[in-house]
Symmetry: C2
Subunit: 250 residues, 2 copies
């Protein structure tokens, strides 16, 4: 009844272990989802994304209402632990990567669209979680950005990837032709706390510790603070901006 | 001129490797600070906290204006890498743990005091960074909280530990006797976006994924959101609350 894999040379296992890195995810068009809260939620709300459920023992899913099309696979302990990078000791889903379209930046924004270059997958995941919580209509990932289906991103995103419209945005230079209003979170700009948000806008977020390149043609917004630390955490800063947009629209 | 250590059995090296965990930090009353931005800043602004600088090659600090009381120690490659958990490949400071006093919760708060139980050191560090940025007057750590001088906390805190007043708060039950106003970030409370912050208050933050225990006698504040994700990241939520306090007082 259960498919069982105990060899690290097994081709299926080898392909799954490739999904721990962005390159393997792109190459194979698959991803791994782990997490005590995210896995049951994803199975219930978005079952068609998934094809396999990886477990250590058949008992792990005895009582689970598993859709027919999702095949359980039992992995030997060391194999399972290799894929369970967060140490959840809980079933892991294998999903099919959805197509990620190219953004049309020449069209005007509808709602709040995030343009983002966060290179750390955990930071990107936390940002996606805030983007879903505060109603961003689209997330446009620049080339520098981490892969949104990287395991560390998925872990931090709390299933936000399944509700967000995520597209590719190309290089920084692509923003020269982008339709506005363009806003950028950066030092030396207008005070975010009193900024009257337009309903439609593109909010640009730079790489961690880098900010937005000076040539990007956007109005700068700044989060006032004491100056007691050199800067805010990039995800925290972006989340605060999303919060003020959402709260202002209520 | 330089003290050199190449044996993993060296007692000084062994004591420093103990500083990678909270237990060793408490026991030895020392901590390790790493980071390309944090180390030079800490040496310039708070040199008296530190006693040693750990390096791999004397050339690393040839041009550094090193205070007399800070002794350079050259570590062999494998030893250095064991202490350089973030992989900075950059000098690491050994500091003396400052005394951490006990909070007096029966006295009324002055300014915004955070009461916090975040158990993950990286999350706590990011929170401390926001607390310093938005002018929290005090951070009161409950028993569940991570150690503020854990390397992962220091890495995320961006030197906020050196400007904040950090004290110990004991158990959750200690809050029964605490002077208010007591506020707690939790589901089902008043809307944070329109909340008129008092100048003096204690803001209570629960453990990740747990929230604040229901018996804690505090007014609940909630961050309005779409409901598209199960919850906000704990540090993000706390940082948004700190931002609204700071922005409201400007």
């Amino acid at each position: 009844m259960f498919h069982y894999i105990d060899s690290p040379q097994n081709p299926q296992f080898k392909s799954w272990s490739g999904l721990l890195e962005s390159r393997g995810i792109r190459k194979q068009g698959q991803f791994l989802l782990a997490g005590l809260k995210t896995v049951p939620e994803a199975l219930t709300r978005w079952p068609l994304h998934f094809t396999r459920i990886l477990i250590r023992h058949p008992e792990w899913i005895t009582d689970w209402p598993l859709p027919e099309h999702i095949q359980p696979v039992v992995l030997a302990g060391p194999l399972f632990r290799e894929l369970d990078v967060s140490g959840t000791d809980y079933p892991i889903l294998v999903g099919t990567l959805p197509p990620i379209a190219q953004a049309d930046l020449s069209a005007p924004p509808k709602g709040l669209e995030l343009v983002c270059a966060l290179g750390d997958p955990a930071n990107l995941g936390a940002l996606l979680r805030s983007a879903a919580a505060f109603g961003a209509s689209k997330v446009i990932l620049l080339e520098e950005a981490a892969h949104p289906f990287h395991p560390k991103c998925l872990r931090a995103a709390s299933n936000a990837v399944f509700t967000l419209d995520i597209v590719r945005g190309g290089r920084w230079a692509a923003l020269d032709q982008a339709e506005g209003p363009l806003l950028a979170l950066d030092a030396g700009g207008d005070d975010l706390a009193t900024f009257p948000w337009p309903e439609d806008a593109r909010l640009i977020l730079g790489e961690e510790g880098q900010g937005v390149p000076p040539q990007v043609p956007a109005q700068r917004l700044t989060i006032g603070n004491t100056g007691n630390v050199e800067s805010l955490n990039a995800t925290v800063a972006a989340s605060i901006a999303l919060f003020t947009y959402y709260a202002g629209g209520q």
